[in-house]
């Protein structure tokens, strides 16, 4: 190679090496041309249905989020151990994207083209999932229950395969905004926002009700763990109520920083960021060192749409505990895992609704037809219909009291934009006896 003359040869040689490399690792093989409808579909065999997801399992976003798929897997294993769905077991594959959209596109290619999944269930993250939205819809892969509250997933015209799941951030922002307006009409409100669509949508919802009460809106860049400048600015603006649209680690960071500054506003955290069990354990650990306050999150206000580990007596939590004890791996039951299990429960409902010979088209149609009637672990119904792929319709406002929560409002539901907030009065039913839903095939 020292002489330039070899370079042309080298390129040829390289290509040969590349060819060898491929043949050595081309174990995946060519997928059968089974697409285009038929009785059963890609990823469905007589014995199993294969579904996939992408999650950050490594890197900065891994803490917390990497627990979700372990919960999902535990519930699918539980269902499989009890006979599966229409006699088929659910084969769940999840891959790491390190919260990097470039990786997401690679692993989703792998899931769809190599693993040949039937559907995507619960892929996590707004920037990450945006990267594969076109691909999944182009390939006709049902893209169910995206783990993010962005408004992007509700575009049935443009993305007919994609469905949201959790209450979107705007809905949550509206309900929190209305609560503050009704119960703290004189408060000066500060916003503590993650600098992406999470913070933006939440702010939009809150401003619809308390635009005139907001005195400061401070944003933090995810990854920058020094939030003292933002908290100091909120303090300086005289905010006596702070609404946080942030992730749990930033709840802990904002609490620690506020303690350092002796700043004591009424904290309101979005559901994503509150997770009392997690944040509480993070903060109380300091008390073994030198921090004296045991439960700093005491008295903070948040929202709920799923019964979590803070309500161990709730029949749903008891079910999740049973599932986790039998099929979980290392570690405790956490709210992240409950989130994953609840998504898995919803998928089982959808798969039952798709009938004994599920197709990709069929499961999407079934969700549009009966998705709005599905009831499960959430306090509120889904907004699924032919015109809407939006997820859960609302939340209730609660106050954190020690290890438990106390209701501050009824369960409230609303939609995006000008839709009014209404009370949702239907009683929240417990899980079925055997812990597995029993949804009749749609149409």
């Amino acid at each position: 190679m020292r002489r330039p003359g070899h370079r042309g040869l080298a390129i040829g040689a390289l290509a040969t090496i590349a060819a060898l490399l491929i043949s050595s690792c081309g174990a995946g093989g060519r997928p059968e041309d089974g697409e285009g409808g038929g009785a059963s579909d890609v990823g469905v065999t007589a014995e199993s249905v294969k579904v996939g997801a992408h999650f950050p399992l490594t890197g900065v976003a891994a803490p917390g989020y990497s627990e979700i798929p372990t919960g999902t897997k535990a519930y699918f294993d539980y269902v499989n151990a009890n006979g599966g769905v229409h006699g088929r077991t659910i084969d769940y594959v999840y891959r790491d994207d390190a919260y990097n959209p470039t990786n997401t596109s690679q692993v989703v290619n792998e899931l769809v083209l190599q693993d040949e999944i039937f559907a995507m269930v619960g892929g996590l993250g707004t920037p990450t999932h945006s990267a594969v939205l076109d691909f999944l819809n182009g390939e006709g892969v049902p893209d169910l229950f995206v783990s993010s509250g962005s408004l992007l997933w509700n575009q049935p015209g443009k993305n007919p395969q994609t469905f949201g799941w959790q209450p979107d951030y705007e809905v949550e922002g509206k309900i929190i905004g209305q609560y503050v307006k009704q119960h703290m009409p004189d408060a000066k409100v500060g916003l503590f926002l993650q600098d992406d669509d999470f913070g933006d949508d939440g702010e939009k919802g809150a401003r619809a009700y308390i635009g005139d009460q907001i005195v400061a809106a401070e944003r933090y860049a995810p990854g920058n763990t020094d939030v003292a400048p933002q908290i100091a600015a909120l303090q300086a603006a005289g905010a006596d109520v702070v609404i946080g649209f942030n992730v749990p680690s930033y709840t802990a960071l904002s609490q620690l920083t506020a303690m350092r500054l002796n700043y004591r506003p009424q904290w309101i955290y979005s559901n994503v960021g509150s997770d009392p069990a997690l944040v509480g354990s993070l903060l109380s650990r300091f008390s073994e060192g030198k921090v004296t306050d045991a439960a700093m999150l005491d008295g903070a206000i948040t929202t709920e749409y799923l019964p979590g580990v803070d309500a161990p007596e709730n029949p749903w939590t008891r079910l999740w505990q049973k599932v986790w004890d039998a099929h979980g791996g290392r570690g405790e039951l956490t709210n992240y895992r409950i989130y994953g299990m609840s998504q898995a429960y919803t998928f089982v409902q959808a798969l039952q609704a798709a009938g004994p010979e599920p197709t990709r088209e069929g499961i999407v149609r079934a969700l549009e037809e009966i998705g709005g009637e599905l009831r499960g672990p959430a306090f509120v119904p889904y907004r699924y219909s032919a015109d809407s792929h939006a997820g859960l319709a609302g939340v209730k406002v609660v106050r954190i009291e020690g290890d438990a929560t106390e209701d501050l409002s009824q369960v409230l539901v609303t939609g995006n934009g000008d839709t009014e907030i209404t009370e949702y009065t239907e009683q929240h039913a417990g899980p079925p006896q055997n812990g597995i839903p029993n949804v009749q095939p749609a149409s």
Partner: protein, 349 residues
């Protein structure tokens, strides 16, 4: 055997390189046509890593300047492409050229600053570049889409291309395959241009600057200008790579251009074999094919998904260290040693 080979290979360097590229193209077609859509998508991914790594080879391998910030230059190319393709009126080859041009201009600025710096100072400045530039996309979120990024319209194959493809292979042209073709044709063109550049006058001059600055300066070379030029060439490649990345990933978002990307490129260049274009390609192949292989081995061995996912970076890091310790010349250095040994043995019998 060698004599025969030598007679078959044309004298002119350009012709020889052209011949190599045509051979490469044939192999690319063969490989893409015989592998699954998933492999095709992996090759599309490999193509943009390889384009950027080839450019980095010029800068680091030939000119001796380290850059930990090439991911930021790829971001410039990716965002340029995303903005141009947004309206749907700009054909994508034009967007790719524009991405290369805009990034080359950015390369002039970065190169002018970098030309004054050495060793760790250059490493530090380019590291800050890699971390800082994605912040621009968040600051100008109105134009650049903030944390969510800009979605990119992936080019669809034009009818003549799809028809020609069908005529030749009697198979349908999938989106992944088309993008892999776009990526690899771009890569081959880049390799052809760079191979000629490296073998020509500038290649010699750059090597001279790398090996002995003082001697080069005494010989009348303008070090600053040469350094900037190397940076610009390398930046243009990074811009092209970013452009291909944007079309393959269908998104330009800050989280796609983390420091990890910049370090991966450097890894590809060094593990493949510093200063060799072929090495850059081999290094890129490693980046794309190693992690999923390791993860699958891990799950196959009964690890949970989470553990298997962490296995990939562990193996990746260990491979880096081991390659540097046992074969500091990278894969190409190793191959060259084997090749020479083969020749010597052949000569003695």
């Amino acid at each position: 055997m060698r004599a025969v080979l030598r007679r078959l290979v044309p004298r002119s360097l350009l012709l020889r390189n052209l011949l190599g590229v045509v051979a490469g193209l044939v192999v690319v077609v063969l490989v893409l046509e015989t592998t699954s859509p998933f492999r095709n998508s992996q090759f599309a991914t490999m193509s943009y890593y390889a384009i950027a790594a080839a450019g980095l080879t010029v800068l680091t391998g030939l000119n001796g300047q380290i850059s930990l910030g090439h991911g930021a230059l790829m971001a410039v190319g990716a965002y340029t492409t995303a903005l141009l393709l947004e309206g749907g009126s700009v054909p994508f080859p034009l967007a790719m050229l524009a991405a290369a041009a805009v990034t080359a201009v950015a390369g002039v600025v970065v190169g002018a600053a970098a030309a004054r710096l050495h060793g760790p100072y250059l490493a530090g400045a380019t590291l800050a570049l890699a971390v800082g530039v994605p912040g621009l996309a968040i600051y100008f979120d109105g134009l650049l889409g903030g944390e969510q990024g800009l979605s990119v319209r992936s080019p669809r194959p034009p009818d003549w291309f799809a028809d020609a493809h069908y005529f030749l292979t009697a198979g349908e042209l999938g989106g992944a395959k088309y993008l892999a073709y776009v990526g690899w044709i771009t890569l081959l063109v880049v390799v052809l241009l760079l191979a000629n550049l490296m073998a020509g006058r500038y290649g010699r001059v750059w090597r001279a600057v790398r090996d002995d600055e003082v001697a080069a300066e005494l010989a009348g070379m303008r070090l600053g200008g040469l350094r900037i030029l190397a940076f610009v060439v390398s930046a243009a490649c990074a811009g092209l790579a970013g452009s291909v990345l944007a079309m393959v990933v269908r998104l330009a978002a800050p989280s796609g251009f983390t420091i990890v990307l910049s370090l991966s490129l450097l890894t590809a260049v060094v593990v493949g074999g510093l200063g060799s274009l072929t090495g850059a390609l081999l290094g890129s192949a490693l980046l794309v094919f190693l992690p999923p292989a390791v993860t699958n081995l891990g799950t196959g061995a009964g690890l949970t998904g989470v553990q298997a996912a962490q296995l990939a970076p562990l193996v990746y890091g260990v491979v880096l260290v081991v390659v540097m310790l046992l074969a500091p010349g990278g894969v190409m250095g190793l191959l060259r040693r084997l090749w020479r040994r083969g020749i010597n043995q052949g000569g003695s019998t």
